[in-house]
C-alpha cells in the first residue's frame, strides 16, 4: 500500500519538523511546504490558479509578520510583566494616539491585500471569447460533460472499485480520485464551463485550475480555465450533495492539440456507432447484460450489488413489489424519482439504458419475471411523465 511505504518517512519528517510551533510556521509557509505531507495548494497550471497561489503566499507572509509582532508583544509581556517577577501594575487605561494608530495601520494593510485580490477577481470573472464551451452537469452522484460545439456528451463516474472502499482490496494510487470517462481538454485553450445540476447543488472543483463553481439545479453559472501544462488533474465535488458526496471526483485530462483532435474524432465516431435506435427490439439477455453495467454505475451505491439494499435506508430490489409487479410502475418511478427519499429521477439516462436496467432488475437475484422491457416502452412512458 502506498500509505505504508510512506508512513515511516512521513513520521520521520514530522519529527524532524520539531515542535508544534515550528511545524506550524514551517507548514503554513507555502514556500517551505513539505510535498509528501501535502501542506500546500496544489501546483497551479492555469494563470488564475497561479495568481491565487501567489496571493496566498503574499498574504501568508503578511500574517507571519503580524503574528510575530502581536505575539512578540504578548509573550514579552507575559514573561516580564508578571507578579512572580515582582512587576507592579501601571494603572493606565487609555491612549488616544495609540488607539488611532492601531486602527489606521491595519486598515492600510488591508488595502495592500485588497488590491491584488481585486485584480484576480476581475480576471477570474472574464469568461468572454472561449475556444471551447463544455456544459457540466452535476448529478447524484456523477458528472455529465457535454461538448456543446461538437454535439456529444458522456457521464463521468467514480471508477474506484467498491472492494477498495470497503477495505477488501489494496487501495490504488488514485483512490477515490479516478473516473471511467474524464473530461478532456486541449492545452492552452480557453475552456468555458457552463455549469448546472440535475438534482441538488454540487460543486465542480479542480484545485490545480483554481476553479470551484457550484452547480445549481435550474440555473446555469459559468467559469473558465486555460490549462498550460499537460497532465491529469483531479478534484472532488465540493458541496455536500448527499450520501455519495465523497465519491464523485472530477478528473480532467489536458492533452496536446493533436491528441485532443484525435480524441475528439474518436468520440464523434463512437457517438455515431452508439446512436441506438429506440425502436430496435432487444432480446432479454442483451438487455440484461447492458443493464448490469448501468446498474453497477448508477444503482449499486444504494441498492447494493446483491439487490438487497441497506436495511432501514435503501429498499431491497430483490423481491420488491415494484420490481416484480407491473412494469409501468417501475418505469414511472425511474423517470420521476420518489420525492421524500434519496431516489432521484433517472430521466437523463437514455431510453435504452433505462429499459436495460429495468430488465436487469426484473430478472436478477430472486426476481424472475422473464420480461424484456423495450426502449419503445420508455419512449411512450416519457410522454406521460
Amino acid at each position: 500500500m502506498v500509505r505504508n511505504q510512506r508512513g515511516p518517512r512521513a513520521l520521520a519528517r514530522m519529527l524532524a519538523t520539531g515542535t508544534a510551533g515550528l511545524a506550524a510556521l514551517a507548514a503554513l509557509a507555502p514556500g517551505l511546504a513539505n510535498a509528501a505531507l501535502d501542506m500546500d495548494l496544489q501546483p497551479p497550471v492555469t494563470p488564475i490558479a497561479q495568481q491565487m497561489y501567489d496571493l496566498n503566499v503574499y498574504i501568508f507572509w503578511i500574517c507571519v509578520v503580524i503574528f510575530c509582532a502581536v505575539f512578540g508583544v504578548m509573550f514579552y509581556s507575559i514573561f516580564k510583566h508578571r507578579k512572580s517577577v515582582g512587576h507592579k501594575a501601571v494603572q493606565f487605561h487609555e491612549n488616544t494616539t495609540v488607539e488611532i494608530v492601531w486602527t489606521v495601520i491595519p486598515f492600510l494593510i488591508l488595502l495592500g491585500m485588497a488590491w491584488p485580490a481585486t485584480k484576480t477577481i476581475l480576471a477570474m470573472k472574464d469568461t468572454s471569447a472561449p475556444d471551447i464551451t463544455i456544459k457540466v452537469t452535476g448529478y447524484q452522484w456523477k458528472w455529465g460533460y457535454d461538448y456543446l460545439q461538437d454535439g456529444f456528451g458522456f457521464y463521468s463516474n467514480l471508477s474506484t472499485p467498491l472492494a477498495q472502499i470497503e477495505n477488501r482490496e489494496q487501495k490504488g494510487p488514485n483512490y477515490l480520485l479516478e473516473v471511467d470517462h474524464p473530461m478532456v481538454v486541449p492545452i492552452g485553450a480557453k475552456v468555458r464551463l457552463v455549469i448546472t445540476a440535475g438534482d441538488v447543488i454540487h460543486s465542480w472543483s479542480v484545485p490545480a485550475f483554481g476553479v470551484k463553481q457550484d452547480a445549481i439545479p435550474g440555473y446555469v453559472r459559468d467559469t473558465w480555465f486555460k490549462a498550460e501544462k499537460l497532465g491529469t488533474y483531479r478534484g472532488q465535488c465540493s458541496e455536500l450533495c448527499g450520501k455519495e458526496h465523497g465519491f464523485m471526483p472530477v478528473v480532467v485530462e489536458v492533452k496536446s492539440k493533436e491528441d485532443y483532435a484525435k480524441w475528439l474524432a474518436d468520440q464523434k465516431q463512437k457517438v455515431a456507432v452508439a446512436a441506438e435506435d429506440p425502436a430496435k427490439v432487444w432480446t432479454e439477455a442483451d438487455l440484461a447484460a447492458k443493464g448490469e453495467k448501468i446498474y453497477a454505475a448508477n444503482c449499486v451505491a444504494c441498492h447494493q450489488a446483491t439487490g438487497k439494499g441497506v436495511v432501514g435506508a435503501f429498499p431491497a430490489l430483490d423481491g420488491s413489489k415494484i420490481v416484480t409487479g407491473p412494469a409501468d410502475v417501475q418505469i414511472a418511478l425511474l423517470l420521476t424519482g420518489k420525492t421524500g427519499t434519496a431516489m432521484p429521477s433517472w430521466k437523463q439516462l437514455s431510453d435504452t439504458d433505462i429499459a436495460a436496467v429495468i430488465t436487469y432488475t426484473r430478472n436478477s437475484w430472486g426476481n424472475h419475471t422473464g420480461e424484456a422491457i423495450q426502449p419503445a416502452q420508455i419512449v411512450a412512458a416519457r410522454k406521460e411523465h
Binding site: L41, V70, I121, I201, Q213, D214, S238, G246, T341
Partner: protein
Amino acid sequence: MSAIPHDHAVGQNEDHGHDDHGHHPTGIMRWITTTNHKDIGTLYLLFSLTMFFVGGCMALTIRAELFQPGLQIVHPEFFNSLTTLHGLIMIFGAIMPAAVGFANWQVPLMIGAPDMAFARMNNWSFWLLPPAAFMLILSFFVPGGAAAGGWTLYPPLSVQAGMGMDLTIFAVHIMGASSIMGSINIITTILNMRAPGMTLMKMPMFCWTWLITAYLLIAVMPVLAGSVTMLLTDRHFGTSFFNAAGGGDPVLFQHVFWFFGHPEVYIMILPSFGIISQIIPTFARKPLFGYASMVYAVASIAILSFIVWAHHMFTVGMPAAGLLFFMYATMLIAVPTGVKVFNWLATMWQGSMTFETPMLFAIGFLFLFTMGGFTGLVLALTPIDIQLQDTYYVVAHFHYVLVAGSLFAFFAGAYYWLPKWTGTMYNEKLGQWHFWASMIFFNITFFPMHFLGVAGMPRRIPDYAQQFADWNMVASVGAFGFGLSQLIFVIALVKCIRGDGAKAPAKPWEGADTLEWTLPSPVPYHTFETPPVVQ
C-alpha cells in the same frame, strides 16, 4: 450549581431575616418551576455541558471514521447525519445556551439587579430547550435517519430528506423562540435594572457584549425561522421557494440563511469577548485598556455582520461587483477585531500578571482566536476562498474561533466564577491540567486541518484520497485526546459543586472589581434586593 451551597450554607447555617426556603419548592420541582436567575443560569450551563458531550461523541465518531481511508465504522449517510447534528447540537445546544447561562448568572450580579426582568419568561425560555434537543436526538431513530444535509440545511438536498429533517426544522423553531425570549429578557434587564449610578458606559464589558448580542439575536433569529419555514412548506405544502422548476431559487435559501448565519457567528463570539474582557484586567491587576473603544468595536462588528453574509457563498457564482463588495466588507471586520485584540494586549502590558486557570484559558483564547482571525482574513480574499471554500481549511478556521474562541472563553468564565457560584475554589491543579491538555490536543486536532484544506480535501466526506491520510490520522488522535481532556473539567466541576475544596472568599481574585465580588461566596439565593450604589 448553586443548589447545594444554598441549601447548606444559607438554609442551615445562617439565619436570615427571611427564610428563602419557604419561597420555592424543593427537589425536581424547584428546578422545573424556578424563576430565580441563578437556578436558571445553572440549568442553562448544565444543559449546555450535556449537549457539549453529546455533540462531542458525534465528533469523535466522525474522527474515528476518518482515522484511515476507506469506510470502516459508519455508512456515508449516517456520517452525513453525524456532521449535521454535530454542528446543530454544538451551536444551538452547547455554545448558545452556555452564553445565555453566563448571562443569567452574571448580568444581574454585575449590574446590581435582584433578578432578570421577566422571571417567568426566563423559566420558559430555558425549558423550551430540552424538548428541542430531544427532537434533534430523536431524529436519529425515525425512518430515513437524522437530517444529513449539513447544519446549513441547503435545499434541494434538505427537501429530499426524510422526517428527520422536519424534526430538525421544528427543533430550530423552538430554539429560536427560546433565544428570542432570552434576548428580550437580557435587553430589558440591562436597560432598566442597573443599580443607581451605573451608567451604560460604566457597565462591565460582559454586559455590553451581551446587550449587543441580544440585539443581534432578535434581529436574525426570525430570519432563520423564516428560512426553515419556507423549507418546510417546500417539503410538504407544494411551495417552490427554493425549487427552480416552480420558479424558485435554491440560492435564495443560502442568502437568507447566511443573513442569519453570519450575525450568528458573532452571537457565539461576542459574549466570549465579554468574559475575556473581565478576566484579563482581573489577572493583570489593571483596568481594561480602551473601554470606550471596546464598546465601539463590538458595536461595529455587530453592524458589519449584517453586510458580509455572501462571503459564505463566493462559489455560487456572483457577479464581480458582488464578490468585491462582500470581500471588502468582510476584510473591514478585521479592523474592529484587531482593536479588541490590541486592547487586550495593552491591558496585559505593564500589568502584574498571575496565571491561574481563568487567565490561562483567556490567553489561550487570545492566541488561538487570533490564529482563527488570520485564517478568516485569508478566507475573506475571494480568490483564495475559491480554493479553500468547502475544504478542511474552513473546518479548521471555524473550530479555531468557536472551540478555541467561544468554548475556551466559557471555560475561562467557568473557572473564574465557580468560586462565587459554589462557594468552593476549584482545584487549581486540575484546572491547569485541563487547560494544557485542551490547548495541546486542540492544536493537534485542528492545526493539521489547515494543511488538509490547502491540499484540497473537501469537508463533509466520509472517505478520502490517500494523500490526506497522514494528517487525518494526526487529527483523529488529537480529537480523542481533546475529548478525554474535557472529563477533567467535569471532575473539577463536580468537586466544586460538592464543596470538595478550599472555601472561597468573597473575592478570591485580587484584581477583580465588579459588583458580584462584593457579595459573599457562595452567592446567596436572593441578591441585591436593595440596589447597591455605584460611584
